[in-house]
């Protein structure tokens, strides 16, 4: 009964505090002036031109992210093609180039979606940052857990031995424990320095 009461109270409180927030995303919006509209590219044929256009669009989005300090998420071509661009694009005007001789270069235009894909990219960047931080923290936590395990084991062994010997060899035991801890610390430091 008490459990049910506590749960209901807790959930009502939670709803009152957090439920109304709607947790609307507050990710900054890219100014319209900076938002890329389309990318034009040329190739020896339409297929190549389309590939180059998608590639350039990917580079453009990458630069945009870097300029806005979002460096953790690196969008690839597949992501850009599937999520940021409208369809496969459309053929653009051909261009003649002396280097390639008489054959005109085929043009291709890819257009970015009007939807706010910037928010999705930024959230992916946040996620990528989070995953990196999480890996680093889990690594730190593992080291801390090992250290804690050693400290606890030494403390436990000391107390048990001290109680078993009724405190007669407390100084000796303390010296042994400090010695063992120092040796383990030195080994750990050497191992860390070796990385």
């Amino acid at each position: 009964m008490k459990q049910m009461f506590l749960t209901i109270c807790g959930l009502v409180l939670l709803w009152a505090i957090a439920g109304a927030s709607g947790a609307q995303s507050n990710v900054p919006v890219l100014p319209e002036a900076h938002k890329p509209r389309e990318v034009k590219a040329f190739g020896v044929d339409a297929i190549k031109a389309r590939e180059i256009a998608v590639n350039q669009a990917t580079i453009l989005v990458g630069k945009l992210l870097e300029e806005n300090n979002h460096t953790s998420f690196k969008p690839d071509k597949k992501y850009v093609r599937e999520n940021l661009l409208v369809d496969d694009g459309k053929p653009g005007p051909d261009e003649r180039n002396e280097v390639f001789g008489e054959q005109p270069l085929k043009g291709w235009i890819v257009t970015f979606k009007d939807s706010n894909w910037w928010q999705d990219i930024v959230r992916r960047d946040y996620e990528a940052q989070r995953v990196q931080r999480s890996a680093a923290r889990q690594s730190d936590a593992k080291r801390f857990a090992v250290a804690l395990l050693v400290v606890l084991a030494i403390a436990h062994a000391y107390i048990r031995c001290n109680r078993m010997t009724r405190g007669r060899y407390a100084r000796w035991l303390q010296a042994i424990c400090v010695g063992v801890a120092s040796v383990l610390l030195a080994i750990a430091m050497v191992a860390l320095a070796g990385r």
Binding site: L6, G10, L14, G19, R124, E127, S134, Q138
Partner: protein, 518 residues
């Protein structure tokens, strides 16, 4: 049961109640202060009034450092009788023994027995038999033993001693001759022997499933002395003998034998006794109690915490092998959250053992605070940054729930139960705090780690955790978080139970037992 009076009330003129400290069939005990600021314990005598008052009046002028002093008996405006007593700030021996399932160090047991003997000797010299010696009536304050509840005949029915007991715990300390109705102060010596046995081993010599069974063992069975240190075997044999004529003639003889044994070469070096009426051959006091107690508790605690690390790691690996389907990315967070959750149960339960009516608001508050802490730890472990003044880079919008619109959810799909729609209505910070906070608020986690429980491992307790962990899963933002939260709390329920020390709780029928028939 609730206390009749609340803090601030003044049922007895001049005494302001601060809080209730004891409840029972005999009445209620409160901590109170006088108008002048003196701290006292007030006992409202509600049952067996005549018998109680008669006993109390005999003891009002007793003065001894090892006895809880009785100051006065007063009646309030409604005619209720109140016993004004010394307030003992220390803890009862029952609480200390609950923390030491294998008993305390022999030197401590010997030291405490000296204090107990002094108190009982004083009572016996004044012609009073305590009749209800048990750990709950003995207190330890600043290393000094204080015996309380003397002079109260609450458990004995009438002057012919053919008594009944209402307090089931008392039968563990009851001398066999009580059933005959013909007894004297030897029953206190027998009870002191039981207490010494319990202090040395952590158990009473006779246990059973009913009061009658225990009493029958007192009458017929020999105590198992193989578990007590060999120095004490002869002493306990004599103190616990069935025939009162063969027991120690006085409690001081028992105390003297214990002191002599402790002083023998090869035996434990004694650092003791307690008060000013000891035989001259016993050396004076060196108060070592708190340090030794602390060491014992620390040893138990560190042992439990170590086992919890090993068990958490083993269970997390097993889970990943069986249910992980080759995905070991969640192994580390599951291990750390299992460990943190189990430690948050083991440590408070060890430092504040649940005794009697353990479900209190302060305990719930501690648990919910720890649950919130675990939620924040989970958040940190998952790489989320809290927007704190010292962390300018942290962004609140990174804590908003988000499921990549183009990515399918990945994670455990055991029975498909965790794969429910994402919670996008709350910030992730709130999700974590709410989930772990509520899980620690609604469940009585300490029951899984308390010393006296029905079985070492209860599958029911594990299913209770799983039930609530599943019920509240909607709070967590996505499948990934749900798997980690659900699994780690379930494993924590297992770890707590297998690593916490366990002693079987003996169910005793709560009914009156006629001793004469035992």
């Amino acid at each position: 049961m609730k206390f009749t009076y609340r803090s601030g009330q003044e049922p007895l003129p001049g005494y302001t109640i601060k809080r209730g400290i004891g409840l029972g069939g005999f009445g209620e005990v409160y901590f109170a202060v006088t108008a002048g600021g003196k701290e006292v314990a007030l006992k409202w005598i509600r049952s067996n009034l005549d018998i109680e008052l008669r006993g109390v009046q005999q003891c009002l002028n007793l003065k001894h450092p090892n006895l809880v002093h009785l100051y006065d008996v007063r009646a309030d405006a409604q005619g209720n009788h109140w016993l004004v007593m010394e307030y003992v700030a220390g803890e009862p021996l029952s609480a200390i023994l609950a923390r030491h399932p294998n008993g305390v160090a022999p030197e401590l047991a010997a030291q405490w027995l000296q204090g107990l003997a002094q108190a009982i000797h004083c009572l016996h010299e004044h012609g009073i038999v305590h009749r209800d010696l048990k750990p709950a009536n003995i207190f330890l304050e600043n290393g000094i033993i204080k015996v309380g509840d003397y002079g109260l005949c609450k458990l004995m029915a009438d002057s012919q001693h053919a008594g009944m007991t209402k307090d089931i715990g008392t039968v563990h300390y009851m001398a066999p001759e009580i059933s005959t109705g013909n007894y004297n102060r030897q029953i206190d010596i027998y009870a002191a022997g039981v207490l010494l046995y319990e202090m040395l081993t952590g158990n009473v010599p006779f246990e059973g499933e009913s009061a009658g069974e225990i009493l029958m063992k007192h009458l017929t069975a020999a105590p198992d002395l193989s578990r007590v240190p060999k120095e004490f075997v002869a002493i306990l044999e004599k103190a616990l003998t069935k025939n009162p004529a063969h027991r120690y003639a006085s409690i001081m003889e028992l105390a003297k034998d214990v002191a002599i044994v402790m002083k023998q070469p090869g035996s434990i070096v004694m650092s003791l006794p307690v008060s000013n009426k000891l035989p001259p051959e016993i050396p004076s006091v060196i108060p070592v109690t708190p340090a030794m107690l602390f060491q014992d508790r620390l040893a138990d605690l560190t042992g439990n915490l170590l086992w919890a690390i090993v068990a958490s790691a083993g269970l997390a690996v097993m889970w990943s092998l069986v249910f992980g389907a080759g995905d070991y990315s969640k192994l580390v967070p599951i291990f750390f959250l299992t460990l943190a959750s189990s430690w948050c149960v083991l440590i408070p339960t060890k430092l504040w053992p649940p005794i009697g009516r353990s479900d209190s608001w302060p305990r719930r508050l501690i648990h919910v605070t720890l649950g919130i802490g675990i939620g924040l730890f989970a958040l940190w472990l998952e790489g989320y940054d809290l927007p704190m003044p010292w962390n300018a880079a942290a962004r609140m919008d990174a804590l908003q729930p988000w499921q990549a619109p183009f990515d399918p959810p990945t994670g455990m799909r055991v029975f498909g139960v965790l794969d429910r729609p994402s919670n996008t209505s709350m910030p992730i910070l709130t999700c974590y705090i709410a989930y772990f906070g509520l899980m620690f608020l609604v469940l009585r986690w300490w029951k899984a780690a308390q010393l006296y429980r029905g079985t070492r491992f209860s599958i029911k307790a594990m299913f209770a955790v799983m039930f609530w962990a599943f019920l509240l899963l909607f709070l967590l933002p996505s499948l990934h978080h749900r798997e980690i939260g659900f699994v780690s709390l379930t494993l924590a329920a297992v770890v707590c139970q297998i690593t916490a020390p366990w002693k079987e709780r003996v169910p005793i029928r709560k009914k009156k037992v006629r001793l004469a028939t035992a």
